[in-house]
Amino acid sequence: MTAPSDAAAAAGTVATPVGAAKPPVYETRALQVDLGGQRVLGPIDLQIAQGTFAGILGPNGSGKTTFLRALTGGVRPSGGEIFLRERPLREYRAAELARIAGVVPQQFHLDFNFTVEEMVAMGRYAQGAPAADGEAVAAALRATGMTDLAGRLITGLSGGERQRALIAQTLAQQTPVLLLDEPLNNLDLNHQLEIMQLLSRLHGEGRTIAVVLHDLNIAAQYCHELVLLDRGRLAAQGTPNDILDPKTILEVFKVRVAVHRQGPRPYLTPVWSRAPEDTRAVERRVHVIAGGGAASGLLEELVAHGFAPTIGIVSVFDSDYAVAERYELDVVSAPPFEPFPPEVVQEFDSLADEAEVIIVAPVFFGRGNLAPLRTALQACRAGKRVVLLTDPPIMERDLSGGEACALVSELVASGAIEAAGIAQAVEAASATPSQA
C-alpha cells in the first residue's frame, strides 16, 4: 500500500502487455484482502480489459464478492494495488468513482418511504448534469421495466422489483463501467434473462461490465470472458469455451458436469452424482466397448458413479461418441462405414490393456467391428475382468454370421461376468477384485 508511486509507475510499464490495444480498465497487482484477520483474497493479478463483459464465478466463499468490493473501493486491500485506468484506485475521490463505475451491490436496504423514481434519481447525485437527470432516470426506468412502478413506494415492492429498482438506480449513473454483485438475486427466470439481455445491450454500446454470477450457464451464455475464483485465488481466466471444462469445474466446484458444445457457447449439465465418498471408482480404469448408441445409458451411469471410462471403438458420427465428448472421456474413434483400420485397433488394444475392467455394451456386431470383441476375449483369458451386457441377447445382435455369438460364448466360458442390465454392470465394475 505504501509503495512509492514511482516504483508503482515503473512496475506499470513492465506489466503492460506488449501489443495490448487498449489499457485495461481495472488491473490488480498482488491484490490481497484480509477481513477480520483472515486472508480472504489473494494474491491476485488480473486485468479487466476495456469493453469486456466479464463474469466472475466461483463457489461460495471463494472471494467473488470481496474481489468485486475491492474494485468498487468498498473494502481496502491489505496488500498489493488496484489500478483503475492506470491510476491507483485509492487516489480516486468517491464522486470521481461514481462517474466511472456504477455498482449494483448484493445487499441493499432502504427502509424509508421513497418512491421508485425518487430512489432511482439518487443515482444522479455525482453526475453533475442536472439538465440530463430527467431523461437519465426515465431511461433507467425503461431499461429495467420499472416505468409503470415509478410512483410506487420502495417499501411496498416485492424483492424482485426492489432488485430492479436498484439496478435502475445504478443505470441512472450512466457510467462507462458497471460492477454487479449477483444482480439476478431475487429475480425469476424471465427477469434474470431480461437483466442479462440488458447487460448484453449495454456491453454492445461499449460499456465494460464485470458481474458476479452463480449460474454457470447464464455466465457461459452471456459473458465474453470468465474469471474463476477458488479459495481467494484466481483459478482461471478466459473465454467460456476455454474455462468451462469438466476437469476445472470438478476441481473448483467439486461437482461433475457434462459440457455440451453443440452451440457456440458451452452448456453445462450437472451429473447428479451418486458416487461413493472415496474416490476409488474414479481411479479404477474402465473401458467400454461401445457403438451405435448401445452404451449411452451405461456411460451416463458410470460417470454418475464417479468413473471416467475410456470408450471404443466408435465412429465419429456415433451417439456414443457424443456422450464421450460431453463428459470429455478418452475415446478411440474410427471413420464411419468401413472396417476399423489396424492403427485404430492398435490404439484400442493399448487402452483395453491399461483398463482393469472391460465392459462390453450390447452392440450390434458385424464383420467390421469384431476386433474389440477378440481383444476382450484375450484379456479375459489373461485374467482381466470382463463384463458382458446380455440384453438384448447376442443372437439378436449378431450380424457377422455366428462369429460374434461364438466369441461371446467363449468369453462366458472364460469367466466373463454376465450382467442383465446397466445397474448390474456398474456393480460388477465397482466390485473390488477380491469380491470378483
Partner: protein, 346 residues
C-alpha cells in the same frame, strides 16, 4: 399511491398551511397571558408595535408595548428557534443513523448539556461569570458529550450506527448519574436544577436569542446543503459512497452540526423532550423522507409545536407556569405510541 408529483403538491400545501398556522400561533401567543390586560388590549398593543410603539388613544395600558417587546416576543422567538433547532437536529440524527428512533437524547447530547447546566448551578464560583454561565456550560457539556460518544463508537476509523447509539446511551447514563449525584450532594439548588432539567423558556431574552439564532440558522443552512447527501446516507455508508459521496466525512460533519444545533437550543431552554423525535417522524409521514422537503417542513412544524406548547405552559395554570418539557412529553409520548400502533414501519 404517493407519486413524486403528488408529494410535491402535498409539500406545497403543507408548507402553506404551516406558515399560516405559525402566523396565527405567534399572534395568539403574543396576546394571551397573565399580565392583566384583555386580549383585545393586547392585540391593539401588538398591532401598535408595527406602527412604531406607543399609542396615545389609551386603547391599551402604556406598559403593554414594553411587556410585549421584552417578555412575550423574546419568549415567542426563542420557542420558535428552539423548536426548529431540536426538530431539524432530530431529523438529521435520524437520517445519519438510518434510524427513526435516533434523537439528541439517545446520543448523550442532552445528558451532556444537563451536566454542564447542573455544574453551573451548583458550583458557585462560576456564577460570577454572569447569566451566560449556565448556557455556556450546557453548550460545552453537549458538545463534549457528542464527541466523547463519537470517539468511543469509532473503531478503526469506522463508526457503526449501532455502536454509536449504544455509546450514546452508555455515556448518557453515566453523565446523568453524575448530574443526579451533584443534585443530591447539593440539596440547596435541587429545585433550580430540576426546573432547568424539566425544560422551559421562562427566562427568554433577546440576548439569548442573538446567541442561539445564528448557530441554529447556520446549522439549518448546512443541513439543507447536505440534504441530498443525507438522502443517500439512508441507503447506508457503502451505497452512499458508491453513488459518489465521502460517506464517513459527511456523516461526521452532519453529526457535529446537529450536535451544535442541539446544544445551542438546549443550553437556553433546558431539556425539552420528544420534539426532536416526534416532529420529523410526523413530517416524514406527510411529506415523505426526502430531506430537501423534510427539513424545511420539520423546522416549521417544530417551531409551531413548541410555541403552542409553551403558550399552553404559561397560560393553562396562569399565573403559575408548567415547565414546557412536561407538556411536550405528556402529549408527545402518547401521540408517538398512537403513531407506532397506527402505522407500522416508517
Amino acid at each position: 399511491m404517493a407519486t413524486g408529483h403528488d408529494r410535491r403538491r402535498t409539500y406545497r400545501l403543507v408548507m402553506a398551511a404551516l406558515v399560516a398556522a405559525l402566523v396565527a400561533a405567534v399572534v395568539t401567543a403574543a396576546v394571551v397571558g397573565a399580565a392583566g390586560m384583555s386580549v383585545g388590549e393586547a392585540f391593539r398593543a401588538f398591532a401598535g408595535l408595527f406602527r412604531g410603539g406607543t399609542d396615545a388613544t389609551g386603547n391599551f395600558p402604556d406598559w403593554a408595548p414594553r411587556l410585549l417587546l421584552n417578555l412575550r416576543l423574546p419568549r415567542i422567538v426563542l420557542a420558535l428557534v428552539v423548536g426548529a433547532a431540536l426538530s431539524t437536529a432530530g431529523a438529521s440524527f435520524q437520517g445519519i443513523f438510518r434510524n427513526p428512533l435516533a434523537e439528541p437524547y439517545l446520543l448523550g447530547v442532552s445528558a451532556g448539556a444537563a451536566l454542564g447546566a447542573t455544574v453551573a448551578i451548583v458550583w458557585k464560583p462560576l456564577t460570577s461569570l454572569g447569566i451566560y454561565t449556565l448556557p455556556l456550560l450546557a453548550f460545552i457539556g453537549a458538545v463534549l458529550a457528542a464527541f466523547l460518544v463519537y470517539r468511543v463508537a469509532t473503531i478503526g476509523g469506522y463508526t457503526s450506527a449501532a455502536s454509536l447509539l449504544l455509546a450514546g446511551v452508555a455515556v448518557g447514563s453515566t453523565l446523568t448519574a453524575i448530574t443526579s449525584f451533584l443534585m443530591v450532594a447539593t440539596e440547596r439548588d435541587l429545585h433550580t436544577v430540576v426546573v432547568w432539567l424539566m425544560g422551559g423558556l421562562t427566562t427568554a431574552t433577546w440576548n439569548k436569542i442573538w446567541i442561539t439564532l445564528p448557530v441554529v440558522v447556520a446549522g439549518f443552512i448546512y443541513m439543507m446543503l447536505m440534504s441530498r447527501r443525507m438522502n443517500l446516507l439512508l441507503m447506508g455508508e457503502e451505497r452512499a459512497r458508491e453513488l459518489g459521496i465521502d460517506s464517513r466525512r459527511t456523516r461526521r460533519n452532519l453529526m457535529v452540526v446537529a450536535s451544535l444545533t442541539t446544544a445551542a437550543a438546549v443550553s437556553f431552554s433546558g431539556l425539552i423532550g420528544f420534539i426532536g423525535l416526534m416532529v420529523p417522524h410526523i413530517m416524514r409521514l406527510i411529506v415523505g423522507p426526502d430531506h430537501r422537503r423534510l427539513l424545511p417542513a420539520t423546522a416549521l412544524f417544530g417551531a409551531l409545536l413548541l410555541l403552542v406548547a409553551d403558550t399552553v405552559a404559561r397560560t393553562a395554570m396562569a399565573p403559575a407556569e408548567i415547565p414546557v418539557g412536561i407538556i411536550t412529553a405528556a402529549t408527545g409520548g402518547p401521540f408517538f405510541l398512537y403513531l407506532l400502533r397506527a402505522r407500522r414501519g416508517v
